[in-house]
Symmetry: D2
Subunit: 145 residues, 4 copies
């Protein structure tokens, strides 16, 4: 699996490939709508990894984790079993305790299937109260932005 970092007007776009398996589809013959959110989360996990962020260490050492605070998703065209999709991510806003991302899902023909705006918050693993994003990650995100 490869990830691509492309330069664009401002900021960078991270891209992650996903294959559609039987588990992802429903009896309507297409990818079940909630499963696009799984794809988008996989891409965010790989993006964080590419930025040097170890989510397991965040949880066990710093006792913080990321949670999704808001997701607005538009479903444009269906994906089907065996389709090869690309999920992209672009950082839209960076704050002390949260980030906002734009994400797109495209098929092999580069058609837009799905677009989303996602707000991620950094919280305490016990209380779920807001906590600052680790400084090292803040610095990496500023470069992305």
């Amino acid at each position: 699996m490869t990830s691509t970092a492309l330069n664009s007007c401002s900021g960078r776009t991270f891209v992650w490939p996903v294959r559609v398996y039987w588990e992802d589809t429903d009896a309507g013959g297409i990818v079940y709508y909630a499963n696009y959110l799984k794809y988008m989360e996989r891409a965010r996990t790989e993006w964080l990894r590419a930025l040097g962020c170890d989510q397991t260490a965040m949880r066990t050492r710093h006792r913080i984790q990321f949670v999704v605070a808001r997701a607005s998703v538009e479903f444009r065209r269906p994906a089907r079993f065996d389709d090869r999709l690309e999920i992209d991510i672009r950082l839209q806003a960076l704050r002390r305790v949260s980030i906002e991302l734009a994400q797109h899902v495209r098929n092999a023909e580069r058609e837009l299937l799905c677009r989303a705006e996602v707000k991620i918050g950094c919280v305490d693993v016990e209380s779920f109260r807001p906590r600052g994003i680790p400084l090292s990650l803040q610095q990496e995100l500023e470069i992305e932005h």
Copy 2:
């Protein structure tokens, strides 16, 4: 399982109970964010059933089905294993080929965990092009509205 229809200022609210099982949670100790969309779809299916809509007949006889066109979800508080949740639905807008719904997820203490605005479109099962919502369902939805 029981569904409750409560009168409110205008329109009615349908409520569907859901229990959180292991399958719904993630290693963060809470319900995985995409799974709230499953809960909301279960409630929509039961709401349609309560309105006399047989989705299997829609597909096989009329060759149409509902798809989610847009979902905007705010995640406020986490749910955990074994929690009893209530998912509600209220019709916000009714058009010839689509409907808009407001949905809330609350826990047993009536705390708001999650709120969503969801747009559902009626489409051809093959082409996925917009098709009119069946008249009998249109009439039921007008009463709801």
Copy 3:
């Protein structure tokens, strides 16, 4: 939702109802095979609850949890969207650190869709090493047996 406890030659059978939603199906038009294991786990959770076992307390107070050690599943007939299923459980063997269960999935016509033998082990939440099933649950299980 109701659970039924029926007497039979030896031991008792616990039954839990499940409805098939879009999330459970795949593009083959039927319930995705791994999802029967989710249904069976829901039934086990409700069976444990009916026996007075609070799995959250087990984890937080006693630092133990149940894990599936083995599952042998035969898939006989497909279930489809909107089907009403019944999942049953019967205790087959009771040991100090594990239990064995027989589970069946039937549809509304009482046809057998799926049968399974499942071995559940009680383990430490950190080390995943075998630990004794709590005595209070052992006693309840002996009555079931």
Copy 4:
């Protein structure tokens, strides 16, 4: 993504890599047991693809599809978020309407997490009655065997 075909005493082993994401874990901190069956199905899909089998064409042109008839799974050790797993497949038996496979899930340290015996049947997409495996695939499978 790469697949490896290793020679062994008799027959060949196909290997498919999988990464554990949040969606795969549960509040016990480990991969939810039913999700190993998803991993194993992904590997089978990629194995069939490597053998030249196009499952979409099978469904639409030949009106047949594969279904799981039996799965016996032993869960030995837990996998956790971010783990890199390898799923292998080896053909055990080849019949006119079914095949039997042995599958293993191992982590990056080559520890065995999970092993399974899986029987796959070829059926008509409507009636779900047994149908012969396509000859071209039969021939490929004989080479594997």
